[in-house]
Amino acid sequence: MDFYQVLQIIIPSMIALAAPLIFTSLGGVFSERAGVINIGLEGLMVIGAFTGIVFNLMFADVFGAWTPWLAVLAAMIAGLLFSILHAVACITFRADQTVSGVAINLLAVGLTMFLVKLIYDKGQTDRITETFPRIDVPLLSDIPFIGPIFFANGYYIVYIAILISFVVWYVLYKTPFGLRIRAVGEHPMAADTMGVNVTKIRYAAVLLSGAFGGIGGAIYATIFSNEFNHATINGQGFMAIAAMIFGKWHPIGAMGAALFFGLAQSLSIVGSSLPFFKDIPSVYLLIAPYVLTIIALTGFIGRADAPKASGQPYIKGKR
C-alpha cells in the first residue's frame, strides 16, 4: 500500500468525521462570542441525533432519498427549541452558565432515552434505512491527484459544513449582526450604551448554537451510528468545544481544528489497518484532541483567550 492509497482512505474519513464537529463548534462560536458559555453543546447534539434518527425512521417511506436532509432540518429545529432552556436560564434567570450547560447535558440524555424507551420499548432505536449516499463531486473529483483524495467517496453535507464555516465568518465579521454579537461578548455595557439590545442578541446567539448543535448531532448519528442509543453521542459535543477553543473562537479556526480532530479520530479508527499508523497505540490518537487543547490554552502554541464577557450575565445598570 503506497502513501497515495493511504491518503485516499484517511482523508475522506477525516472530512466526514469532521463535519459534525464543524457544525457544532460553529454553534459554540456564536454562543461564546456573544458571551454565553455553552457546555450544553453535547446535550444539544444528543437532541439533534435523537430527532434526526427518529424523524428518519418515521418518514423514510414518505420522503425517500430526501429523508436524511429533512431529518437534519428537523434536528436543527429541535436543537434550537431545546437551547431556549439554556438561553432562558443563562440570560433571563442569570443562572451560572456552566451549571446550566451541565443540566442541559443531563436533561438531554435523560429525556431522549426516556422517549426512546417509550416509543421503541427498548434501549435503542431501530436502524435507519435512508442515510446520506457517498458521492463523487462532479468535475472536482476529476482533478488529477487532488480530486480522488478530497472530492471522491464523500458526502455533500460534509462539503456544506466547510462552506458554512465561511458563511459564519462572513456573518460574524462583515455584517452588523456579527459586530453586535462580538460587541456583546466583549463588553456588553458598551454595546448597551450604543443601543444594542444585549438580551436579544444573546438569545439569538444561543438559539443559533442550538440549531448548529442539533445539525451536528443529526449528521453524526445519520452517517456513523445509524441508530440512537445512550452512547451515540459520546464526547462529540465536548470535542466540538475543544475545536472551538483550539480555533481561538474564530469560525475558520474552529473549522480547521475540527478537521484536525477529525484526522485524529479517523486515524484511531482506520489506523490499525494502515502501515506506519498501526504501530501507534490508538490511545494517543484518542486523547490527542483533548491534550492538544490543554496545551493550546496554556499558550505554548499561541495563546487562546476567551471573549472577555463570557460567563457573566449582563445586569443592566450594574457596574
Binding site: 436560564a89 451549571v99 446550566s100 443540566a103 436533561l107 432515552m113 426516556f114 468545544i241 486523547i287 490543554i294
Partner: protein, 347 residues
C-alpha cells in the same frame, strides 16, 4: 432558626418543582405518577435489600459532592470530578491487585492510592489555573476524556491481556462487609459509608476550623483582597483542587474496592462526577448540605431502578428530574424573585 429556614427554601422549592415536572412528564406519557413515585420510594426503602443498595449508591454521591463543593468554596468549578473518579478507581484497584499485604496496611493503602491518583489528576487543572490563568473548567473537561481513554488503555493492555476487566482485588483490600450484607439481605452495601462520613467531617473541619480553610474560603470570596492580605492565591487554588480531586478519587476507590472489586473498560462516563455537581449545588456547598443532597439524589437513583420493574416507567425519568432540579437551583434568582412576589402578595 429563620436563617436556616430561608437557606433551605430555594433548594426545597427546586426539588419540589423538579418532582412536579417529573410527574407531569409521567402523566403526559400515559403513566400514573403516584404509582411511579410510589415504586421509586419502594425501591429506596421498600425492604432491607433496597436500603442497602440505596446506601451503596449514596456513598460515591457523598464523596463526588464533597469534591465539587470543596472546589466551589475556593471559587473553582471542578467539572473534572468524573475523570478524577475514574483514575482513583483504577489506582485503588491496581494497589488492591498488585500487593500482598495484611489487611490493616493493604486496605488503607489502596484507599489512599485512589485519593492520591484523583489528587494528581486534579493538580493539573489547578496548576495550569495558578500558573497560566487557564480556565479550570475547560482543562478538566478535556482531562475527563483523557482519563477515560487512558484508563481503558491501561486496563486492556497493561493490567490484563486484552480483557475488558481486571481480575478481582485481594480480599485484604476489599471494603465488602459480611456484616452489612447479612443485615441487608445480601445487598452490596460496604464499609465505604464509614469512609464517606469521615470525609464529610474532614471537609467540615478543614473549612470551618483551620487557618488553611479560612484562606481557601477567602480566596473564593475575593482573590484580590486575599492577595492583599498576604495570602498566596496560587497556592490556595492548587491546594483546593488537589483536596477536591482526592475526594473524587476516593469516590472512585469506593466503587473499585467496595461495590465492584474490579475495574472495567468503560464505553462512557459513570455519570457520578456530573451528578456530584448537582449534589454540591443543592447542598449549597456545605458538608452537611452535601450529605442531605446525596441522600436525595443517591436515593432517587437507586429507587429509579425499581420503577421499570413495578410500573414499567423508564428509569430515565429520574435523570430528567435531577437535571431539572439543577436547572431550578441554578435559576434560584428566579425562584427568589417569585418568592418575593409571593410574600408581597400575602401582605
Amino acid at each position: 432558626m429563620s436563617k436556616y429556614l430561608s437557606k433551605l427554601t430555594s433548594p426545597l422549592i427546586a426539588v419540589i418543582l423538579g418532582l412536579v415536572v417529573g410527574a407531569i412528564i409521567m402523566l403526559v406519557s400515559g403513566y400514573d405518577p403516584v404509582a411511579g413515585y410510589g415504586s421509586m420510594v419502594n425501591g429506596i426503602i421498600g425492604d432491607s435489600y433496597y436500603v442497602g443498595e440505596s446506601v451503596r449508591t449514596i456513598i460515591p454521591y457523598i464523596l463526588a459532592g464533597l469534591a465539587v463543593a470543596f472546589a466551589f468554596r475556593t471559587g473553582l468549578f471542578n467539572i473534572g470530578v468524573e475523570g478524577q473518579l475514574i483514575v482513583g478507581w483504577l489506582a485503588a484497584v491496581w494497589v488492591g491487585i498488585a500487593f500482598e499485604l495484611p489487611r490493616i496496611i493493604h486496605l488503607p493503602l489502596a484507599i489512599l492510592a485512589g485519593a492520591a491518583a484523583g489528587a494528581l489528576w486534579a493538580f493539573i487543572p489547578g496548576y495550569l489555573k495558578a500558573k497560566f490563568r487557564v480556565h479550570e473548567v475547560i482543562v478538566s473537561i478535556m482531562l475527563n476524556y483523557t482519563a477515560l481513554y487512558v484508563t481503558n488503555y491501561l486496563i486492556r493492555n497493561v493490567m490484563t491481556d486484552k480483557l475488558d476487566k481486571t481480575e478481582r482485588i485481594a480480599d485484604t483490600a476489599s471494603l465488602r462487609s459480611p456484616f452489612f450484607e447479612s443485615i441487608t439481605d445480601f445487598s452490596r452495601m460496604h464499609w465505604g459509608i464509614v469512609v464517606a462520613i469521615i470525609c464529610v467531617i474532614i471537609m467540615w473541619f478543614i473549612l470551618e476550623r483551620t487557618k488553611t480553610g479560612f484562606e481557601l474560603k477567602a480566596v473564593g470570596f475575593n482573590q484580590h483582597a486575599s492577595e492583599y492580605a498576604g495570602m498566596s492565591v496560587n497556592k490556595n487554588i492548587i491546594l483546593s483542587m488537589v483536596i477536591s480531586g482526592a475526594f473524587a478519587g476516593l469516590a472512585g476507590a469506593m466503587e473499585g474496592l467496595g461495590t465492584f472489586g474490579y475495574a472495567a473498560v468503560k464505553g462512557g462516563f459513570t455519570g457520578m462526577g456530573f451528578d456530584g455537581i448537582a449534589v454540591a449545588l443543592l447542598g449549597a456547598n456545605t458538608a452537611i448540605g452535601v450529605v442531605l443532597a446525596a441522600l436525595l439524589f443517591g436515593g432517587l437513583k437507586a429507587g429509579a431502578l425499581n420503577m421499570p420493574l413495578e410500573t414499567g416507567i423508564p428509569s430515565e425519568i429520574v435523570d430528567i428530574v435531577i437535571a431539572l432540579i439543577i436547572f431550578f437551583v441554578a435559576s434560584s434568582y428566579f425562584i427568589r424573585w417569585i418568592a418575593a412576589r409571593f410574600k408581597k402578595g400575602v401582605k
